[in-house]
């Protein structure tokens, strides 16, 4: 994905992915960014997804090139991994992060500076998401299994909603502000009735 394409996306747009998608997670990012490990994968220009899948170890074959059958691939809460967005983009050239629940201000700033987007998937809909994954093509940092670095081949992966864009837009921030503005009203209702 080029920076030009990424910068053309605005919150509310929907996209689907075909081809390569990398699965990242708490443990592998802790190891890459805090413990000095590196990956042999080239993440540059690619999308990553916050995931640790259910897999079954099998004999490597054309169908299962990495020796793993994917059983259930779903998406985890992104906010835990907020502090890794900046280095993922700066050091590895990642252009899109797929997750659920959104990222925060530092990520939004990184998206603006380096041209990135956050694509929202419906969390907890992993059975459906799994049908968009064709295979696990490769795996790195597998001593961290299931929090390995996964290379998936996907087809029609989506629709995903652009929920944070490279222009400072965040659907989560918009909703957060609206929700906060209803706080007093919600509390008043509770008080009035005793």
């Amino acid at each position: 994905m080029s920076e030009e394409f990424i910068r053309s996306l605005r919150i509310g747009d929907t996209v689907s992915l075909n081809g390569t998608l990398f699965g990242i997670r708490d443990a592998n990012q802790i190891h890459m960014f805090d413990k000095g490990r590196t990956t042999r994968f080239d993440l540059s220009g690619h999308a990553v997804i916050h995931t640790a899948p259910n897999v079954q170890k099998v004999e490597p074959s054309d169908e299962y090139p990495a020796g793993y059958r994917h059983i259930c691939v779903g998406t985890t809460t992104s906010a835990r991994m907020e502090r890794f967005t900046q280095p993922l983009m700066a050091q590895y050239g990642v252009k899109a992060i797929i997750g659920k629940g959104g990222l925060l201000q530092d990520s939004l700033a990184a998206f603006q500076q380096m041209g990135g987007v956050y694509l929202a998937i419906v969390g907890g809909a992993a059975a459906l998401e799994t049908t968009w994954v064709e295979a696990i093509e490769d795996v790195d940092l597998d001593d961290l299994n299931p929090e390995s670095l996964w290379k998936f081949r996907v087809k029609g992966f989506g629709p995903l909603m652009v929920a944070m864009d490279s222009h400072g837009g965040s659907l989560y921030e918009n909703v957060r502000k609206v929700a906060q503005s209803y706080r007093e009203e919600a509390l008043r209702g509770l008080k009035a009735k005793g």
Partner: protein
């Protein structure tokens, strides 16, 4: 009634897998209710995807969510039941490990300090096993709850003061829902524990969050508070997946315990929209599996 521990092990295995694949009818009905009352288009579409996922999971016999959770077994032993308690716990643990290896499932359980994953879904004090007793004759219930971390990470306790009264409870619940925002995979079941000691209060919140939809707090004051809090929480506009909408929570559930004259504890524990649970009841006639 004598409990066959080999059967307990099988049931512990099967319930874990079943809970991960089939949502209880009350939760499905909850989706129908929220879908009908939702007015936001994006929220409707998000709810639609969740409902579709429930069908795909059943069709493909796949897991609803990749998060296999922290396994919890709630055991309720009735009267005139003969069972070796120690062996019962061992059997549940073996069943949990077998589900993980035989299906196989992602083991989501690690050592708290080394972060080592034994790939068994088990570890020190995990699976969580809660044992209680009931007045029911010749009955043993095993409820299995795979508690996902997206919702479990949104757990809070406040040791409020008596002088802060009920308003402290209201504010704490509303602020917890705001703080959780999109992270808990809403629509949620918001579990609220009120009273007890600190640890009991959090346990009650978990009990509330994992109760079937449509169930009510046994205490009338608690039941009234559930209704008011449900209405209040759904005024916030957080919506499904925190992307806006009316459907922030299926319900707020409250569980109460008596507390100390100097205390006013309140805890919140949340359950995500994939409000998974499964139950088996052992009686002299056989084993009935449901929710």
């Amino acid at each position: 009634m004598i409990v066959d521990l080999k059967q307990v092990e099988e049931v512990a295995r099967d319930l874990y897998i079943r809970a991960l694949k089939v949502l209880p009818d009350d939760v499905k009905a909850g989706f129908d209710r929220l879908s009908q009352s939702e007015t936001n288009d994006l929220a409707k579409s998000v709810l639609g995807t969740m409902v579709k996922n429930i069908a795909v999971a059943e069709e493909n016999s796949n897991l609803l969510c990749q998060d296999t959770g922290i396994p919890i077994y709630n055991v309720t032993i009735g009267r005139d039941v003969e069972v070796d308690g120690f062996e019962l716990k061992q059997a549940l643990r073996r069943g949990c490990e077998r589900a993980t290896k035989e299906h196989p499932l992602r083991s989501s359980v690690v050592h708290a300090l080394t972060r080592q994953n034994e790939h068994t879904s088990c570890g020190h004090l995990v699976p969580v096993i809660n044992i209680d007793f009931s007045n029911r004759k010749e009955s043993l219930e095993i409820e299995m709850i795979p508690k996902g971390s997206g919702s479990e990470n949104n757990t809070w306790l406040k040791m409020a003061l008596p002088a802060e009264g009920r308003n402290a409870i209201h504010e704490f619940v509303i602020d917890s829902v705001l703080e959780a925002g999109a992270k808990t995979c809403p629509p949620t079941i918001v579990g609220v524990g009120i009273g007890g000691t600190g640890d009991l209060c959090v346990h009650l919140a978990k009990k509330a969050a994992t109760r079937p939809l449509g169930s009510r707090c046994e205490d009338p004051e608690g039941a009234e508070l559930e209704e008011k809090l449900s209405e209040a929480v759904n005024k916030l506009g957080v919506g499904p997946q925190g992307l806006g909408g009316n459907a922030t929570a299926f319900a707020v559930h409250v569980e109460l315990a008596a507390t100390h004259i100097t205390m006013n504890p309140v805890a919140v524990n949340m359950q995500c929209h994939s409000a998974r649970r499964a139950k088996a009841t052992f009686t002299p006639v056989g084993i009935d599996v449901g929710f």
